[in-house]
Structures are given as structure tokens and as C-alpha cells.
């Protein structure tokens, strides 16, 4: 992984008085799978639409595959594949004809590539059927095939597993991993956190148009290390632990305390409690998932906002 294929600086978008995106800065490195997370309405599709030139930014700069998109965007887009929001096709054309339309628009795509991709996404036997008869999952697969026609260097996927059954979702995730191994950079917009956790190297979390966290998945999870403590007198224990300089926060959840502190200091937590006659029945690191991290940071943002 070297070189930056996408660099966004200070990207801002207003729709009239409504701020959809505020001062977004991020970069995606060649060969990585970048997860772009956010609740519905966070600004994920707006960001992708801005990068691909479907809408104009109010402010900010976008560099795509080393080119400033204010000049020569069309040429650069020929090296990019994308599904924005949902795949869109002509319902009266067959799957193969829809890919043919896409291939002709891109230019330089051999006919054999259409057949290969239809096979790769499992639609070879339905290639001549009209798209209006396809299921949501089939349309999603055809969308992926269309996005891969030009063997893109950078692939934008917006909720690519939406509408697929669990087996189909697993296949798409496997395909994304394969593409990453082949050197394709993937920018994956999703609200399915387990999906992102499974396939992404780095993630950015967008909330209300602002990037609130960004980094490698493991690094982000480390940022929110939590020790779970069970003790008889929860109130006293919480007050005591809050006084420790290296404890970032303590909250009560049912019959336990969740202590935000480095896992490596679990023994010191135990010792501090014991010195005050509080004997813990259980002290163990709490496994933080990306989902828990996501919910926590978006909640913190909401609390700060209010």
C-alpha cells in the first residue's frame, strides 16, 4: 500500500441553508479497503457524489488518482468504478446489454470482459433476461459487474450487500477481499459495521456531515479500551476509579462498571479497589466491536451537540 489515490480537503456542501457536509478531509491509500461509515443521512452518498462530480462542492478540493477533479475529471473517471446509492440499469435491456451500454460508454472494454464478469457475479445464465425481471440481489451483482468493467484502480461501493441474502453478502465480501488482493482500492460506504470490520483496513466515521473518527480498525478499537468490573459497592468503586488520572471515564451498566482505561492497567484497577476494601468479583477486558465503538462515538457527538 503506497501512494494516495483519493485526497479530499475541506470538502463542504450546502443544499440551500442545509449543511450536508462540513470541512471533510480524508485520504485513501492505494490498495486499501476504506470503510466509510455513518448513520443514514450522515452525508456518505453526498461525499461520493461530490467526488464523482455529480454535484458541486460549496468549498473544498478533491484529488482523484492524482488529478485535481476541477480539471479533466472525465478522463480520471474512466479509471474508476462506482455504484452510487443503488445500481441503476435500463429495465428494458438485458443484463448483457446493460453491461454493453456501460462498456461502450467507458470505451476500450473488450466484449469478452462482459461474459467474464457475468460469470464472476453468477449471472451468466440470466445474461439475456431483461433487468426488469431481476431480483434486488441480481441487480446488485450486475451493478458490481458494471463497476468492474474497466478494471478500475479505485472502486466506490455504496452499500454493496444491500438486498442480498447472507450467502450473497458473504460472496460480495469475499469478492471485495479478492479485489483488494488484486490491488484495487475500495471505498466502501456502509452502515453494516460487521461488514466493514471484516473487510476494511481503515475506516472513517461520518456523523451529521462531519468526520468524527478515522483510522485503522484495530487502532480505533484500541482507542476505546474498556475494563469490566464487578464489585459489591458500585457507587463507591465508581467514585474511586474516576479519581485515577489514567481513567478516561466510568459508567454503570446494570450490575457492573465499564471503565475506560488501558487494558494493561487492569491489575492497578484491582489494586486501587482493594486498597479501599472493595474486592472485585470480576475484572476483565471488554471486547470492543466496531459497532460498539461506532455507537459510542456517535452518541458522544449527539451528547456534545445537545
Amino acid at each position: 500500500m503506497n501512494g494516495v489515490v483519493l485526497r479530499v480537503e475541506g470538502l463542504t456542501k450546502f443544499y440551500g441553508p442545509v449543511r450536508a457536509l462540513h470541512d471533510l478531509t480524508l485520504s485513501v491509500r492505494r490498495g486499501e479497503v476504506y470503510g466509510f461509515l455513518g448513520p443514514n443521512g450522515a452525508g456518505k452518498t453526498t461525499t461520493v457524489s461530490l467526488i464523482l462530480g455529480l454535484i458541486r462542492p460549496t468549498a473544498g478540493r478533491i484529488e482523484l488518482l492524482g488529478h485535481d477533479t476541477r480539471r479533466g475529471r472525465r478522463k480520471v473517471l474512466r479509471r474508476v468504478g462506482a455504484i452510487v446509492e443503488r445500481p441503476a440499469f435500463y429495465p428494458h435491456l438485458s443484463g448483457a446489454d446493460n453491461l454493453r451500454v456501460a462498456a461502450w460508454e467507458l470505451g476500450g472494454v473488450p466484449e469478452v470482459r462482459i461474459t467474464q464478469l457475468l460469470e464472476r457475479v453468477g449471472l451468466a445464465d440470466r445474461a439475456d433476461d431483461k433487468v426488469k425481471g431481476y431480483s434486488t440481489g441480481m441487480v446488485q451483482r450486475l451493478g458490481l459487474a458494471a463497476a468492474l468493467l474497466n478494471e478500475p484502480e479505485l472502486l466506490f461501493l455504496d452499500e454493496p450487500t444491500s438486498g442480498l441474502d447472507p450467502a450473497g453478502q458473504a460472496e460480495i465480501r469475499a469478492l471485495i477481499r479478492e479485489l483488494a488482493e488484486e490491488g484495487v482500492t475500495v471505498f466502501l460506504c456502509s452502515h453494516l459495521l460487521h461488514e466493514v470490520e471484516q473487510v476494511c483496513h481503515r475506516v472513517g466515521i461520518l456523523n451529521k456531515g462531519e468526520l468524527i473518527a478515522e483510522g485503522a480498525v484495530e487502532e480505533l478499537l484500541r482507542r476505546k479500551e474498556v475494563i469490566q468490573v464487578r464489585v459489591a459497592d458500585l457507587e463507591r468503586a465508581a467514585a474511586l476509579l474516576r479519581r485515577l488520572a489514567w481513567v478516561q471515564g466510568v459508567r454503570r451498566e446494570d450490575d457492573r462498571l465499564l471503565v475506560e482505561a488501558p487494558i494493561a492497567r487492569s491489575a492497578e484497577v484491582n489494586a486501587a479497589l482493594a486498597r479501599q476494601g472493595l474486592y472485585a468479583s470480576e475484572i476483565r477486558p471488554l471486547e470492543t466491536t466496531l459497532e460498539a465503538f461506532f455507537l459510542q462515538v456517535t452518541q458522544e457527538e449527539a451528547d456534545n451537540g445537545s
Partner: protein, 297 residues
């Protein structure tokens, strides 16, 4: 451009609407003259019919049969409220508007297709289909009128069939197609601005059939200056241009022209210029609107 024209032609070729448009156009060239001639022949034998003055009946018959019938065919496929206008406005509005409703416009632009290229190739594809439709209609309609002429007059005098007549017919087809371009562009412009096929088709047809076809023509009865408005409308200039077609004078300005005869229509050259200005205006409006448009989810 050529590559993308291939894309647009594939989309049109694989669409039922294109074939329906061609079918209606060609079949109307068979059904309408035959039906009108039958009504004319049956004359006052029809229940409740008033006897038609023989001079008018003869003039009508002449307008339907060869060689003047070519003008009738051209006014059928073209004209400000002809079948061709109706069909190609629908095809143009739907072709552009559906790109929004199907969200395929977004997919095309994301593949690096230029915005102007997107609309211009679509326009060229529609005009090519229109050209094919018109030539096909004439190729079917003229021999059919020949049969009707032979059946009606007992013989078919082909002395009119000279090189200059064929040239006039081809020029008439070109003139008729040219006259429809502003309507097609208006439908495309409105479909782009409204991001919907129904706005493109509905507003254009409402304008052509209600505003031009009725309101502006009725203003003629009010007197100047209102009576002059029709002269500057699309319809007024289309009718002025179509009058230059073979047999067109009889339909547009003669006794059969009805209201048109009262309208003091512009000359063919003047009309061609005004229609070019309308076309440029709609084309520029469409390209600028699309270039500035944000393609939102």
C-alpha cells in the same frame, strides 16, 4: 461521440416505444387517407351528412390523391399538430426523462460521459429514428396513395414522377423533420429541467395542442395586435414552412387551410429562420440547464 451514439441507438432499438412510434406513423399513412377518401366518396349517403359543394369535394379528393397527396402525407407526419409531432415529442421526452426516473443518468456520468455528449447523442439518435420513420412512411404511403388514386380515378398517371418531384418529396421530408426539431428540443429541455418524462411530454404537448393549436389561433378573431401572436409561435412558423411542401399550399393557405388562411403566415424562409432561432434557444437552454444541474439521489 460515435461510440455513445451507438449506445443511444441501442437503447432506442431495444425499446418498444420506438417500434410503436414507427408502427403508428406508418399505419396512419395507410389508415387516414383511405378513411378520409372513403368518407368523401360516401358523401351525403352517410346518415345525417350535409351535401358537400362539389368543388370543395373535388379539391379535397385532389389533396388526398397523387401527386398532391404527398403534401397530405407530409402534414400527417409533421406539422405543428401532426402525428409525427405527437409521437416524437413523446419519444424525446420519455427518452430523456426516464434517465432520471431510472437513475441511469447518474451511472452514465460516473463513467466519465460528458454532459453535453449525453444529450447531443440522444438528440441525434432521436433525429435519426425520426428520419427513418419519415422515409419509411413515405415509402409505404406514396405507393399506397398510388393505389388509391388508381382506384378512385380508374387510372394512375405517373407523368408527375420526375426527378424534380422526387427531389421535392425528399426536400419536403427534410423540411418536415426540420420543423419538428424545436418541439423535440422543447420536450428534452423540459424533461431535463423537470427531471421527469411526464413534464417533458405533458408540458410540450399542452403547449402545442392547447396554446398554439387553440388559444393563439382563436386570438386571430380578436384582431391586432393579438392576432399576430400566432405568426411568432412555433406552430405558426411550422405551418408557414410546411406550406412550401408539395401540395402544402393547398393545405396551409388555400381554401382547405381554414383558420390558417386567416393567419397571414410567414414565408418559408422566414419561418425556417425563426424555427432555427427557437431550436438554438431550446438547445442552449437544455445544455446549460444540464451542465449546471446537480444529480442528487
Amino acid at each position: 461521440m460515435v461510440r455513445n451514439l451507438r449506445v443511444e441507438l441501442l437503447k432506442l432499438r431495444k425499446r418498444w416505444l420506438s417500434w410503436i412510434v414507427l408502427l403508428i406513423l406508418v399505419s396512419s399513412a395507410i389508415i387516414l387517407p383511405g378513411m378520409l377518401l372513403a368518407i368523401l366518396k360516401m358523401g351525403d349517403r352517410l346518415p345525417g351528412a350535409q351535401p358537400m359543394p362539389p368543388a370543395i369535394a373535388a379539391q379535397l379528393e385532389q389533396a388526398l390523391l397523387l401527386p398532391d397527396g404527398v403534401g397530405f402525407l407530409l402534414s400527417l407526419i409533421g406539422g405543428s399538430n401532426g402525428m409525427g409531432m405527437l409521437l416524437f415529442v413523446i419519444l424525446a421526452g420519455v427518452s430523456v426523462g426516464n434517465e432520471y426516473t431510472w437513475r441511469t443518468v447518474r451511472a452514465s456520468l460516473v463513467r466519465g460521459r460528458g454532459r453535453w455528449d449525453f444529450l447531443l447523442t440522444k438528440l441525434v439518435a432521436i433525429l435519426l429514428l425520426m428520419g427513418v420513420g419519415f422515409l419509411l412512411t413515405m415509402a409505404v404511403g406514396i405507393p399506397y396513395l398510388g393505389l388509391l388514386t388508381a382506384a378512385s380515378r380508374g387510372q394512375l398517371d405517373l407523368s408527375f414522377l420526375t426527378a424534380s418531384f422526387v427531389g421535392e418529396v425528399l426536400l419536403g421530408v427534410l423540411r418536415t423533420g426540420y420543423a419538428l426539431v424545436p418541439y423535440i428540443l422543447l420536450a428534452m429541455l423540459l424533461a431535463v429541467v423537470g427531471r421527469s418524462p411526464w413534464i417533458g411530454v405533458g408540458v410540450t404537448l399542452a403547449y402545442a395542442l392547447l396554446v398554439e393549436g387553440m388559444a393563439l389561433q382563436l386570438l386571430v378573431l380578436v384582431g391586432r395586435p393579438w392576432s399576430q401572436l400566432y405568426r411568432f409561435s412555433l406552430g405558426g412558423n411550422v405551418t408557414g414552412l410546411m406550406a412550401a411542401n408539395p401540395g402544402g399550399q393547398a393545405l396551409a393557405g388555400g381554401e382547405l387551410g381554414g383558420m390558417d388562411a386567416l393567419l397571414n403566415l410567414p414565408s418559408a424562409n422566414q419561418a425556417a429562420l425563426v424555427l432555427a432561432l427557437y431550436s438554438l434557444l431550446f438547445l442552449a437552454g437544455m445544455l446549460v440547464a444540464f451542465q449546471r444541474q446537480e444529480i442528487t439521489p
